[in-house]
């Protein structure tokens, strides 16, 4: 995990360094003279050699100091903390939508895999995976936000200001971001259950007199959940990326929006901190995924104890 994080730090730093566009020029505005730009560059420490800047930045980041924004002078930590709740709420909402739709859909798809219900669910999965999040968001805005008018189509209300309005404003973004993940979950759950139902232990369990329901929920589902947990963990990375687009569609002031603004303005420290944060969260989620295997599957647990 640490080498990957360090590798990402190096990649992101040097990618930014060779990025066309100089933050000093941006700060000086269109009419800055050569001398002014040079002065800004020096005051920001941008005139130092790249490796020196990198080591300095890495050292401070490792100590929890992410620097200050070039543009508005705010501490990067403050900027991140301000916007973190929005994205966290969006991610949570998307996961809720994804599991609330994906698990029943996968189960139903497996149980009625031959009939029209199964085909309908297959079709839903295929379409939901193919639809780009930003277009889905636009569709929701047109049909649910504007034409039906039952949910706000745009904007964000802080939870502390108005909890009900906050939840209402997050429904469409969460649906937008979560529907594609729901389809992936449904697909893997269905494949897992169908695979499980063919195993010999199912025949044995039925033969010793267990009900179909018990075999399905106690034996097959548990095994099928393994692959579902794996893909849900992997989808989390896509979720963080999708948040950028979803926040852009719905004008949410979250981390994705901050990322977009910072890239436009060449606000290096903010981009670096955000990227590292994203990669770290992604790696942590993968770690957590690995750990849940032990909870779901006792065979893995005992393997590790031995």
């Amino acid at each position: 995990m640490v080498p990957v994080l360090l590798g990402s730090a190096i990649l992101i730093f040097f990618l930014l360094f060779v990025l066309p566009g100089d933050p000093a020029v941006f700060i000086a505005g269109g009419r800055g003279t050569e001398a002014q730009v040079e002065l800004i560059r020096r005051s920001l420490g941008l005139d130092r050699p790249v490796p020196v800047q990198f080591v300095d930045w890495l050292w401070r980041t490792a100590h929890g100091d992410f620097g200050t924004s070039y543009i508005n002078g705010f501490s990067v930590k403050v900027l991140l903390l301000q916007r973190l709740p929005v994205t966290a709420e969006l991610a949570l909402g998307a996961i809720v939508v994804a599991t609330a739709i994906g698990l029943p859909a996968g189960l139903a798809g497996a149980l009625w895999s031959e009939g029209p219900i199964g085909r309908l669910i297959d079709l839903f999965n295929a379409v939901a995976i193919a639809v780009p999040v930003f277009w889905l968001g636009i569709l929701f805005q047109i049909y649910i936000g504007l034409q039906l008018g039952i949910l706000p189509a745009l904007g964000y209300v802080a939870f502390t200001d108005d909890p009900v309005e906050n939840l209402r404003s997050m429904v469409l973004p969460s649906l937008t971001l979560g529907l594609g993940i729901a389809a992936v979950i449904a697909r893997f759950l269905k494949a897992g259950i169908l695979e499980g139902l063919r195993q010999n232990y199912v025949v044995t369990a039925r033969a010793k007199g267990l009900s179909r329901r018990r075999v399905l929920f106690k034996h097959v589902l548990r095994n099928a959940l393994m692959s579902v947990v794996t893909v849900t963990g992997l989808q989390f990375g896509g979720l963080l990326g999708g948040a950028v687009l979803t926040e852009s569609v719905f004008n949410l002031p979250g981390l994705g929006n901050l990322m977009w603004i910072s890239i436009q303005r060449r606000d290096y420290f903010v981009i670096q901190a955000l990227t590292l944060l994203t990669v770290a969260v992604f790696l942590l989620v993968n770690l957590a995924t690995d750990l849940t295997y032990g909870f779901i599957d006792p065979r893995i647990r005992t393997q590790e104890e031995q």
Partner: protein
Amino acid sequence: MASTLGAPLEDDIVVAPIIARSRSLPPIVALTAACSLLAIIALTVFGPIFAAAPDAIHVGSRLQGPSSTYWLGTDELGRDLLSRLLYGGRVSLIVGFASTALAAIVGVPAGLLAGYRKGVFASLVLRVTDVLLAFPSVLLAMLTATFFGAGVLNLSLAIAVVNVAVFVRLARAGTLSQKGLEYVDAARSLGCSDLYIIFRSILPNTVSPLTTQAALSTANAIVLEAGLSFLGLGVHPPTSSWGVMLQVAKSYLYQDPWYGLAPGLLLVAVVLSLNASADAFPLIFDWRLRA
């Protein structure tokens, strides 16, 4: 899989989606998908010959709905939506196919070599793919797109960087599973060079999952291109692309819903047909399966 702490994306996980799809779709679905894909490609290639100029501005007919003059209506400047849609489709498809080709051309040989021989090169390649896979693809695409700059070629490069790691991992996984087999030993004992073994013996036996991945990567690339253009990091106006059109349409949802619907529908149609025909790609490109 419990031992993957610290190495989040093992080969089996990268390969897993493809294995999960291997339950092959009925051929009729794959065939329909392939045909609709070809139809859309034909539309974007030949359609513009008959369509109006995409940049021609018709003042006085802005944001009109579908009519006999403008089949899909007009945009906010009074330009014909249908012809912008067809020209935009060229950009989306070119970026999709070019970036996948680039990613495969770089990624597959790198993966084959890294799988065949252990050493500095192999571990370097693996570390780099580890890092690339740890980035969410939209985020990485935003960074590389800013790095390479706007334009069709630059956009293809930027998206190729995002997609290259999967090809490396797949090619490596295939090589690892093949290199211990007898036919490789036989080839070596006949005095074949390593390069001959890798590219003439091992590659043909690992090509099936790669072709499936190529279809999925192309779909992914087309969505990424649209996403980047939607964020304003893709092609620049007046060039049209489906993502650019959606970005502008976002401001006119109320006046002209068609503007926001049409590009998205085509986008979904392309991605859907690529995903659905992905399973059929090995049948087209893997000569052993055909024989």
